[in-house]
Structure formats: structure tokens, C-alpha cells
């Protein structure tokens, strides 16, 4: 199976680095998905949620406030100002990371619509993961 190399870095360190099946990014011109062999592209990202499909079919989500994505055939590099991965061993840890992700989005975006959209997206994905 062909994969993409996805790396998400922020000034506070690396958030994510792994091979993935596909990734959905919140581009400034609208949301877009990236599969392997995507044409080269540099895009601005707005406040939102990055939806990562891992090689085992599971989804992982990362909230970002603002950043840039550089995409080519084999890799996706995301340079974000702030990013929070929603992960955890148990429910309380996950709840905690969701809290901080929402805080990050709240602090950055000035439009309520964007906040609501991002938060709804987080809830949706979480529901589908049956946490």
C-alpha cells in the first residue's frame, strides 16, 4: 500500500511524524484531502482540524491554529504555530487533550463559525471512533 509521510511541527516541537494513508487539511480556500502522488502544493492553513487516516485505517485528529502546508508526491509537511494532537491512553486523557484543542481554536479564531465548525468536526470524529 502506498503511503504518505506526514510531519506536523510547531515551535514547541514535533507533534506528529509517521506514514499515513491520507490526510485532510483545513486549507484557507477550503478543506482538502491529500492522497499519495498529490501534485506539489503550498497552502495556507486556517484554524481547524487535521484528520489523519493511519495505515491501519484508524483516524487521528490534530487541531491547528494557523500554519503552512507543503505537499508533494511523497510527503506532507505542516508548519503550524500551535497544534494539539487528540490522543490519550484513556478517556480522561483524551478529554483533557480535547479541552486544550478547543482552547487553542478558541484563542486563535475570531469567527464563531470557524470555532463551531472545528468543534463540531472534533465531536463527529470522536463519535465515529466511539470514545
Amino acid at each position: 500500500m502506498e503511503t504518505l509521510r506526514l510531519e506536523i511541527v510547531t515551535p514547541e516541537g514535533q507533534i506528529f511524524a509517521n506514514n499515513v494513508k491520507s490526510v485532510t487539511l483545513p486549507g484557507s480556500e477550503g478543506e482538502f484531502g491529500v492522497l499519495p502522488h498529490h501534485a506539489s502544493l503550498v497552502s495556507l492553513l486556517k484554524t481547524g482540524v487535521i484528520d489523519i487516516e493511519l495505515t491501519n485505517g484508524e483516524h487521528e485528529i490534530v487541531a491547528v491554529d494557523w500554519g503552512h502546508a507543503e505537499i508533494d508526491e511523497t510527503k506532507v509537511t505542516i508548519l503550524a504555530d500551535g497544534a494539539v494532537a487528540i490522543v490519550g491512553e484513556n478517556e480522561s486523557e483524551i478529554a483533557k487533550s480535547i479541552e486544550s484543542a478547543k482552547k487553542l481554536i478558541d484563542s486563535m479564531s475570531d469567527s464563531d463559525v470557524a470555532i463551531a465548525m472545528a468543534e463540531a468536526k472534533i465531536d463527529n470524529i470522536l463519535k465515529s471512533k466511539k470514545y
Partner: protein
């Protein structure tokens, strides 16, 4: 007896020095831990943003993407004026840390002078400023207090000055020099050409397709990315330099403490010898006195 007293005084003085150097070493060790962590965290981001930019530079020069004619990427052969931004510490007592950076700057200056290129210096850190002032070399800007407590705001302020000169065509190149942190015991000089952006050396990018930009209408995305790149490079240079400074000072102070210990040891030996000598002299005096009375 005067000799004895003198040696004792010396021992005391060296011991006091030792106390000071040991305290400085401990302080640096504690500060190093924090600075090292900060430098390590931001290193990933700094490396990635450089990688992305040199990738973009490569593609723009190769395909002339979307008619973008950004002179950030335009590598000229005949340059006339160069800005060197260099970072030194505000304080001394850290071995060859500052002098290494200064020497590198001088080498660069000589290199460009030989090519009849004008060089301007932008200094950060008191030690570098003092050095060049003493030499009678003019500095374009001085910044004191930034290298001991770097902030992102201050870093972007400094670099944006240099960049705006580049944008207005005043300079053709901006070089950033700092002494970076390699590990606990060694530092490494880093010289970066900030603008124009270098292409990845040697290795061809695997990607062959044209590059698109989104949003496409204007150069906002490139400009915002560039701004981030400049500011972050500067900021990273500052925190990297701070970590290196502490590691250099820690080492210098450890050496000083060891030297002081050695000195105390030698002086103690000398002191004992002198004491023994004076006792022997006294004994001889007494014995010879007794002998003469017989």
C-alpha cells in the same frame, strides 16, 4: 616567617576564586538545562522550515512557478553589499565562545572585502559590540540584552530591519552567524545565508511536478511563509546561541575550578616545605647554642 604568611594568604585567595568559579559553574549547569531544552524543541521546527523553503526555492528557480518573480530566491553572482548579523554573548568568562564567532565574522569580512564587496555588521551581544568598537570597525546596529534573554518579538524586530534593507535593494545578501549548541561539551559555528535562500545542496528534490500555491492570486502565502522563516531563523539562532553560551561557560568554569584546586595543592606543599624549613633552622640555632655552652 614572612614567607609563610604570604603563602597562606595566597592559598586563601585561590580558594576564594575556586568558590566563585564553582558557583558560576553550577549556575550555568542549571541554566544550560533549560536553554538546551528550549533549543532542542525548536530545532525541529527550524530545520523543517529551512527544508521547506529550500525546496520551494529549488522549484521556483526551476519552473518559474506562476510567474513569481520573488527576489528572495534570486541568487545573484555579482553582489555589492552584504549584511552580516552575528550573535555573541553579553557576558564573558565562557572560554573561546565569543572569540570564535568574532573570528568567523572577521574571516567573512575579509573574504568579501577581497572581492570588493561592502560589508555591514549588525551586532547582537555586548562582547561582539565591544570587540569591534575597540577595533574601530563601524557597526550598523547594536543590540544588548537580547542574547541573554531572547524573545520572539525582539528577534523579529532585528531581522526585519535587515530584511527590509534587502527588499529595498540596499543589500544583496544577509548572512547570519552564531555559535550554536552541539552537545554538553562542544559548540559549533553556524553560518546561514538568510536571503537569498539557498537551494538544497547536491541532492535533487525527488518531486518533479510543478508547484501550485494556494491561495493563488497573490504572493501572500509566500510572503507570510518567508516572514515566518526569517523570524524563526533569527529566534532559533538566539536560543541556540544561549544554550551554547551556557555550555561553554560551564566548561570554562569547570576548568577554572580544577586549576584552582591544583594551585591550592601546590601552594600547600610549598607552605609545608617552608614551615619545615623554619623549624629546622630554629632547631639548628638551639642545638648550636647548647653546643657552644659546653
Amino acid at each position: 616567617m614572612a614567607n609563610l604568611k604570604e603563602i597562606k594568604r595566597k592559598i586563601k585567595s585561590v580558594e576564594n576564586t575556586k568558590k566563585t568559579t564553582r558557583a558560576m559553574k553550577l549556575v550555568s549547569t542549571a541554566k544550560l538545562k533549560r536553554a538546551e531544552l528550549a533549543a532542542k524543541k525548536s530545532r525541529v521546527y527550524a530545520e523543517k522550515i529551512n527544508e521547506v523553503l529550500s525546496d520551494i526555492s529549488h522549484k521556483i528557480n526551476k519552473y518559474k512557478v506562476g510567474g513569481i518573480d520573488s527576489h528572495y530566491f534570486d541568487i545573484k553572482n555579482d553582489i555589492e553589499k552584504v549584511d552580516i548579523v552575528f550573535v555573541t554573548a553579553d557576558k564573558g568568562l565562557c572560554g573561546g565562545f565569543n572569540i570564535q564567532t568574532i573570528k568567523q565574522v572577521q574571516t567573512l569580512m575579509k573574504k568579501y572585502k577581497d572581492k570588493k564587496v561592502k560589508v555591514r555588521l549588525r551586532a547582537i551581544g555586548r562582547k561582539g559590540i565591544d570587540f569591534f568598537k575597540f577595533q574601530g570597525i563601524e557597526l550598523l546596529t547594536n543590540n544588548v540584552g537580547v542574547s541573554s534573554s531572547p524573545t520572539y518579538e525582539k528577534a523579529s524586530e532585528i531581522i526585519n530591519e535587515a530584511i527590509s534593507d534587502f527588499e529595498n535593494g540596499v543589500t544583496d545578501k544577509v548572512i547570519l552567524v552564531h555559535n550554536g549548541y552541539k552537545n554538553m561539551i562542544s559548540q559549533e559555528l553556524r553560518v546561514v545565508d538568510v536571503v537569498p535562500i539557498e537551494e538544497p545542496d547536491g541532492k535533487e528534490s525527488e518531486s518533479l511536478s510543478m508547484m501550485e500555491l494556494e491561495p493563488a492570486e497573490d504572493e501572500t502565502i509566500l510572503n507570510s511563509l518567508m516572514k515566518k522563516y526569517f523570524e524563526y531563523n533569527m529566534y532559533y539562532a538566539l536560543i541556540d546561541s544561549l544554550a551554547a553560551e551556557h555550555s561553554a561557560r560551564m566548561q570554562a568554569m569547570e576548568n577554572a575550578t580544577n586549576n584552582a584546586s591544583e594551585r591550592v595543592h601546590k601552594l600547600t606543599l610549598a607552605y609545608n616545605k617552608a614551615r619545615q624549613e623554619s623549624i629546622t633552622t630554629e632547631l639548628i640555632e638551639i642545638i648550636s647554642g647548647v653546643e657552644s655552652m659546653k
